[in-house]
Amino acid sequence: MSENKTDRRNFLKILGIGGAAVAAGYVMPKDILTSKSKGIAEAGTSEGKQSHEVLPGQLDDYYGFWSGGQSGEVRVLGIPSMRQIKSIPVFNMDVASGWGITNESKALLKGRFCGDTHHVHGSYTDRTYDGKYLFVNDKLNNRVARIRIDYLETDKILDVPNIQGIHGLFTQRFPKTEWVVCNGEFQVPVPNRAAADQKDYYGIHTIIDAEKMEIVCQVMMDGNLDLAATDYNGKYSFATSYNTEKGVTISEMLAADYDALYVFNWDRIKKALNDKHYKVIEGIKVIDATKGKSGIVLEIPVAKNPHGVNVSPDGKYAICSGKVSPTCTVVEIARLDDAFNGKIKPKDCVVANPFIGLGPLHTTFDGRGNAITSVFIDSTNVKWNIAKAIEAEKLGEEAKKKNPHIVDVLDVNYQVGHIEATMAETKEADGRWLVSLNKFSKDRFLNVGPLKNECEQLVDLSGEKLRLVHDSATYIEPHDCIMVKKSIIEPKVKDRFNMFENPLAVTESGVVRKGKKVTVKLTANAPVFGLQKVDLKKGDEVTVIVTNNDEIADLAHGFALSNYNINFVVAPFQTKSVTFKADKPGVYWAYCTNFCHALHLEMRMRFIIT
């Protein structure tokens, strides 16, 4: 499949279509589609008529990684079936798997079980996903978490100081993900103190070392920093700012007619770090880029209160979606260096301001020169051609009024937030499926009371017209997603843990007592735990370590201790531990909670506390 993709890309290049045709213009969307149809046929689908049905026993084509919003989790879906395959607890407590119960998860969560995940992005090598990690923000408690793709479990959680409302998050795309950036949407005093004067509040762009999960540095701005993106050459990161006014009320935040797209120059950031042009605040190197004085950040004016910023898969354009303005702002990335060097003005990087609709929020791409923008107030997905928008801008107002760039408008149900196409944030954008993450379901599902699910809609993106094919009910409240072809992820995902990666792994059961501290080591092999009985004394501090010694894929065991509020699940070769105080004398049965065997119900043992 990837070979076909390459062929098509080169083919388009020869035709001068692959986005390089900006100057030539006159690239009809139809032409692009015609030249593409060959590729789609090779991919085993038919243009505009793809089937989203995945029959029993068949597998999906894409992994979807969904943020879970204020549920604090990340979810894994199969695309195109939209079946939810897994939920990965991240910042939340999950009593089913024991996240927030076990010692290992408690060490990461540090007692905080509320989280607000918005943006999940994968690690990259050479401008496409490498299947190693996922990263996700926590807007609520200002953390960034990493998920290992091999186990699809949370691996690290990093607290980020000096920042509030961590919203946009994006990963470096080239040459590989060494840095992850995240944005502070709420301006606060740095370091935080009880300052009432908003002049002392700042927005913070944070750079994180992806492997070490440590903060490299922070860049301090006057404006707030909303959504984030990186370029395709490892040179820049981007942030939209809707509150350049430093407002603290809605009216103040809406005051200016223009806000900004901030572009962060990575070479200059590295130089500032080398030259020690920073202050250490809360242990973090903070570079002062306020009042536009550092030369590190370019401030490109964009129409009032923009929202998303997304980079086209050819790496050429950063597109800001207008939110309050009914337009998108197209920024040509090749011009940024000249603007940084003062050869052109920041506003000269803007090559088009196409009309989209009322309330454009986010933009995604089909890899065939088209952008698809979510429009909240109109409740539509708008497909538009980037080259045509740029061409119309050159031809002037009259040409623009005819909206030649708009290819199709699809009504969605209802009020879309994020929008994402398959592989759209990589050089391999394939334009097959589009998901519209709608914020209201209203009457699309059986009524489940005043608090209703969201309605996420699957759209066939392979034809010229957008074709709605499926409504999917989603528990509150995903924000964003990425969809990654399975050939990247599937080979990396394991069926069992590497048992000895965890130094606590138990292969032989037993009890070790040191004064009041008791360690109970348990193997779990269907249908028995390694011990039938454990004797404890009231007041003992007990640590139970359980390793699932069963090798068979999907044979998971649970460990639950009656009346002690303890439950967790161990997957094949996984080890988890829990510590509790034996404060209630009596006989307490521990039992397996995850169905494992015909004698699952007999898989239990006594804790006798005297």
């Binding site: 009216s251 809406l254 309050v324 009322l358 309330g359 909206n403 149900n413 009020q415 209201f440 209203k442």
Partner: protein, 358 residues
């Protein structure tokens, strides 16, 4: 109406030019006014809920404030858009001015000048005739703000028609005597309901709208549910109990179903709570529906009805509506030609068949 006079006096005495200024906040726009803004007269006489305008001692027209006549119509913001309307003695609108609104699209999305361009279309229109969006009135200026436009239309047309009845510019049709509905079950098939006029139809093909798609844009059926003889056939015995006047404070209900590529529900009601594509009109009063009046309807029980793509049961929550009198059903078809949003109105008259009346 006293307020107008007082304001007028103060403004006239102080600085006349202040009338064009206004008070703004991010969420509310309020404008000052004087009756002359909408009617060219040199003297105004106060009547109940309206002003008479005189020029050289001769009655030349009337000025009304919409909140005195149609305050139940509220926009996307949940607030009434207060409108000053002038009407001359021949029933033509002489001026319209927005005095207060809080419509979010106008405050942060569209230029307010477009709002004024929209309402200026009403000037010179005859209030006795239809003032329908998609026919006499276009939404070109504010195509994205359909909820605002549709509610504003209801405010202007209902206020001015009601005034026209009161002042005798339009003669009321008092011939129809008040009748009552029979509370009686009658088994009728879908075809029978249609043939006796209990169910009415509006059909619009895509071709008629200049669209290339084959088939219907809408094939819409509607009817009163209030008579048991209709309601039980459409929504079943259990459904009828839910839609009956007994269950709904005496209010009547209609059902609407549709097939075709278009939608009569749209999405305006999702955030704004108002259905911006359908309304009823009876004796100049416009009845609109909010999501509180609506329950989804996904199939019709009557034999031979066939499948439907979308449907709803709507409670007509107003004492002004009389189900035994004729009314008009209005559909504002909303569609796109290429990227351009367009609107066209379609009407159907409805009168409950004698069969269901005592």
């Amino acid at each position: 109406m006293k307020k107008i006079i007082i304001l007028f006096l103060i403004i006239a005495i102080l600085v006349p030019s202040i009338a064009i200024s206004g008070s703004y906040s991010m969420f509310e726009h309020r404008y000052e006014y004087k009756p002359n803004d909408v009617l060219n007269a040199d003297n105004f006489k106060e009547k109940t809920k309206y002003l008479e305008g005189y020029k050289n001692g001769k009655l030349v027209g009337f000025v009304i404030l919409s909140k005195d006549w149609a305050s139940k119509h509220v926009g996307y913001s949940g607030k009434h858009m207060e409108t000053l309307i002038g009407i001359d003695t021949s029933g033509k609108i002489t001026g319209v001015k927005i005095l207060f609104h809080s419509e979010p699209i106008m405050l942060i999305g569209l230029d307010e000048k477009r709002y004024n361009a929209f309402i200026n279309q009403y000037i010179g229109r005859d209030v006795a005739k239809n003032l329908s969006i998609g026919k006499e009135i276009t939404m070109d200026a504010i195509t994205g703000a359909t909820v605002t436009a549709v509610v504003q239309n209801a405010i202007i047309s209902e206020s001015s028609k009601r005034l026209a009845y009161v002042t005798g510019l339009i003669k009321t049709d008092k011939a129809a005597n008040k009748r009552t509905i029979k509370d009686e079950s009658i088994a009728l098939t879908w075809d029978e309901l249609k043939s006796i006029g209990a169910v009415k139809n509006i059909k619009v093909t895509n071709k008629e709208l200049g669209l290339t798609d084959e088939g219907n844009f809408v094939d819409l059926n509607f009817g009163l549910l209030t008579p048991r003889g209709i309601g039980e056939n459409i929504v079943g015995k259990e459904g009828y109990i839910e839609a009956s006047p007994q269950k709904n404070d005496g209010y009547s209900a209609i059902f609407i179903t549709s097939n075709g590529s278009g939608t009569f529900k749209g999405s305006g009601y999702v955030r704004g709570g108002i259905f911006d594509r359908i309304s009823l009109e009876q004796n100049g009063v416009v009845f609109q529906f909010t999501d509180r009046d609506y329950k989804i309807l996904s199939d019709i029980k009557a034999v031979g009805a066939g499948k439907i793509k979308e449907g709803g049961v709507f409670i007509i929550r107003s004492k002004d509506f009389d189900p035994t009198l004729p009314f008009k059903f209005k559909l504002t078809a909303t569609y796109r030609q290429g990227s351009v949003k367009k609107f066209e109105s379609f009407f159907a008259d409805y009168m409950l068949p004698d069969k269901f009346l005592k």
